[in-house]
């Protein structure tokens, strides 16, 4: 299966190991992974700042880079959701529609397209606090959420991670409360953002988590920044790394 790898800009710049793990994982699962070299950013930071109009160039570049691929995969629910739902410049055009529809977050791609349920090479004998980012949770629907106690419980990322040998899950008090990253919010509303990040790390830590694992590196970047400043021993890995066999 031919797959185009969409690497979020901050992953490219600060967390290349996440993109490497995503690449290796997809290749282990039999995908032929292409990496369009001219990709930049999906434009989400602009749209979330109110400047949808300024993101038109970034969107057009994205569509050019990724046209012709039936599957576009990114290790980021937030970026994928932006492409699928918020490409505003030329939303109705065929090439845009196709690219938007072809774009998947890694968790959804593994769970629903490749339908993988086993990762025999992976072993992670640690207690993990699973953090499902709000976009992945409430907008991509990757897991049930506590606002809807009537709906049957399910979690795609947890289903994937459960296949990893030795893994244990911590149960924080507020598993689906936002961690406070929120893109530019992390800077423009720094006091609340930091407080939310600290609370999230403390919650997972108190529940016994040695690692916090998520499909969204943006959330983890923020939580990690908080944890390091707090002096918390909790460490952070992207789900791609754990599924790819990282040992912690």
């Amino acid at each position: 299966m031919k797959v185009a790898l969409f690497v979020p800009c901050y992953v490219d710049a600060f967390f290349p190991e996440v993109a490497i793990a995503t690449l290796e994982l997809l290749e282990r699962l039999g995908c032929e992974v292409h990496y369009p070299l001219e990709q930049t950013c999906c434009g989400q930071p602009l749209a979330n700042s109110g400047c949808e109009a300024e993101a038109a160039g970034a969107e057009a570049l994205f569509v050019r880079n990724f046209s012709g691929f039936e599957h576009i995969v990114a290790p980021s629910g937030s970026c994928v959701h932006h492409v699928r739902e918020h490409f505003a410049a030329r939303p109705g055009h065929d090439d845009v529609r196709r690219v938007r529809g072809a774009c998947h977050d890694l968790v959804d791609f593994l769970h629903d397209v490749l339908r993988v349920r086993e990762f025999p090479w992976a072993e992670f004998p640690h207690t993990v606090g699973l953090h499902v980012g709000c976009t992945s949770l409430r907008k991509l629907g990757q897991a049930s959420h506590s606002e809807r106690p009537d709906s049957p419980a399910f979690s795609k990322p947890r289903a994937l991670l459960s296949a990893v040998k030795g893994i244990r899950f911590a149960s924080p008090q507020r598993p689906d409360e936002c961690c406070g990253f929120g893109g530019t919010f992390s800077v423009t509303e720094e006091p609340v953002s930091a407080r939310m990040g600290y609370d999230k790390v403390l919650d997972h830590g108190s529940a016994g988590a040695e690692y916090i694992v998520s499909g969204d590196m943006s959330c983890l970047m923020h939580q990690k920044g908080c944890a390091e400043r707090m002096g918390s021993p909790v460490r952070f890995l992207h789900i791609a790394q754990v599924l790819n066999g990282a040992h912690g």
Binding site: L46, E189, M221
Partner: protein, 465 residues
């Protein structure tokens, strides 16, 4: 030119008060959890949300007809119906009703609309004494501070704060902070006002077009006391409060308190339709920007709001910043999508006081797409040139960067190369908001793109760097 509210600045003061922050966050999260339990017990909850949303949408799409039907029914009941285009007119009408009858004292139950119209100072300046009878509103009135939450107005205060306010204003013992005795003090000092007030006032949770009835939901019974004792009753009603028929009230009554507090119904669910013989009932229908919002294709759904406060309880930002940090009668997620319609410049920062996490949308009983509306308001604010911080020019530059692979790569590689060699004080100073309470991520040896070119490009042959 109104000064923009600085939510972030206000929030930092709120967060610094550790005990208050911890209680506020825990108390409202507890209400959110109670809401979860209450709604989980109702198998048809999701279909009720869908119905409630559709009934409100239907009503708003026929609002003019329903307003006229309501007016006819209310007049047939013997009530007098007034219309106010804005806050000033509302206040004038209320004052005229009171002054014409020589009314000097007014007892009232909680009404966000009267707060929105700033009615109290208007009346007080004209010699009319206004007594808030809801305990939370009374605490705030005595402390000369606006309410911070639409359902629990003094939730940001601890018992010691209330004791201090009552000691200062009611003469109670400043060292006695027992909530039961404080509530008893308010009961004891408010009761004479009920007995002797010239007029009583309520808001309206719902106004029924079919019957002309005003529906008011309280737990204390203070609305009933405000109406059943004085000889003059005034109800302030926002035009969006209309429901078509009595049967619809049942649905909304089943949803309101479960969403707000997790209890199946408020202790007192009162329906005022016909004035007692020898008394008067006046209803003031208020626009004050509602018809303008009704005409906004992206934002009219905010008028479906039934003022339950569930969005505030679930909002992680609201719980950690408090309602007063929004600088408006309406705070939290609903405030964020209502307030910019009143004053775009003043409230331009509010839509950015959100992580767009979507929890508010998920709990809203009438399915307002709150987080989508927050995103839409951000676009409006940027288009109208009132972005509170990031300059439009900087965004244009960023946009150009993202549209050009070459420029983008240069910026990424330059930023990474520089950061690791900077002394800590340059990264962590008051200009770097990220770094105030967080570590900045370390720049890796290579970007992913550089790694790919080094390790994979030859095999894949993707093209020239």
């Amino acid at each position: 030119m109104s000064t923009p509210i600085d939510h972030a600045e206000a929030s930092s003061g709120f967060i610094a008060a550790k005990d208050h922050l911890e209680f506020h966050d825990r108390r409202l999260w507890d209400l959110r959890c109670k809401r979860d339990r209450a709604t989980a017990a109702i198998p048809e909850w999701e279909s009720m949300r869908e119905l409630a949303s559709a009934i409100k949408a239907h009503t708003l799409s026929h609002l003019a007809d329903y307003l006229e039907q309501f007016e006819r029914a209310a007049q047939a009941n013997g009530a007098t119906v007034h219309w106010a285009r804005d806050a000033a007119e509302h206040n004038q009408i209320v004052h005229e009703i009171l002054a014409a009858r020589g009314a000097r004292t007014l007892v009232k139950s909680k009404s966000m609309l009267t707060d929105e119209c700033e009615m109290r100072p208007f009346l007080e300046q004209r010699g009319i004494s206004v007594i808030e009878t809801d305990l939370g509103e009374r605490i705030q009135q005595l402390d000369d501070e606006p309410p911070s939450h639409i359902v629990v107005p003094a939730v940001h205060k601890l018992r010691g704060d209330v004791a201090a306010v009552f000691a200062r204003t009611l003469g109670t013992d400043p060292d006695d902070d027992d909530p039961h005795r404080l509530a008893e003090a308010q009961r004891r000092t408010t009761r004479p006002s009920f007995l002797s007030a010239d007029a009583g006032m309520t808001g309206a949770n719902f106004a029924v077009a079919q019957t002309g009835a005003i529906v008011v939901c309280t737990n204390e019974g203070n609305a009933d006391l405000s109406v059943h004792l004085p000889r003059l009753y005034i109800a302030s009603v926002g035009i969006e409060k209309l429901l078509p028929r009595t049967e619809h009230v049942a649905l909304f009554v089943r949803m309101l308190s479960r969403s707000a507090l997790g209890s199946p119904i408020t202790q007192m669910t009162s329906h005022f339709r016909v004035p007692r013989p020898g008394t008067e009932m006046h209803i003031v229908l208020v626009d004050n920007g509602r018809s303008e919002r009704l005409a906004m294709p992206a934002f009219w759904p905010s008028l479906k709001c039934i003022r339950c406060g569930a969005c505030m309880n679930t909002c992680p930002v609201y719980r950690r910043s408090g309602g007063l940090s929004y600088g408006s009668t309406y705070s939290g997620p609903i405030g964020v999508i209502i307030d910019p319609a009143y004053d775009l410049r003043k409230y331009s920062a509010l839509p950015f006081a959100s992580t767009l996490n979507g929890s508010c949308t998920a709990v809203c009983p009438v399915k307002i797409d709150i987080h989508d509306q927050i995103f839409r308001w951000r676009q409006v604010i940027a288009q109208r040139q009132v972005l509170p911080f990031a300059k439009r020019q900087a965004m244009k530059m960023a946009g150009r960067l993202m549209a050009s692979p070459r420029l983008f790569r240069a910026a990424v590689e330059a930023a990474g190369a520089g950061a690791e060699h900077l002394p800590r004080v340059m990264l962590y100073n008051r200009f770097n908001a990220w770094g105030r309470q967080r570590e900045v991520p370390a720049a890796p040896a290579m970007t992913f793109r550089q790694w790919w070119l080094k390790n994979r490009a030859a095999a894949r042959d993707e093209g020239q760097p």
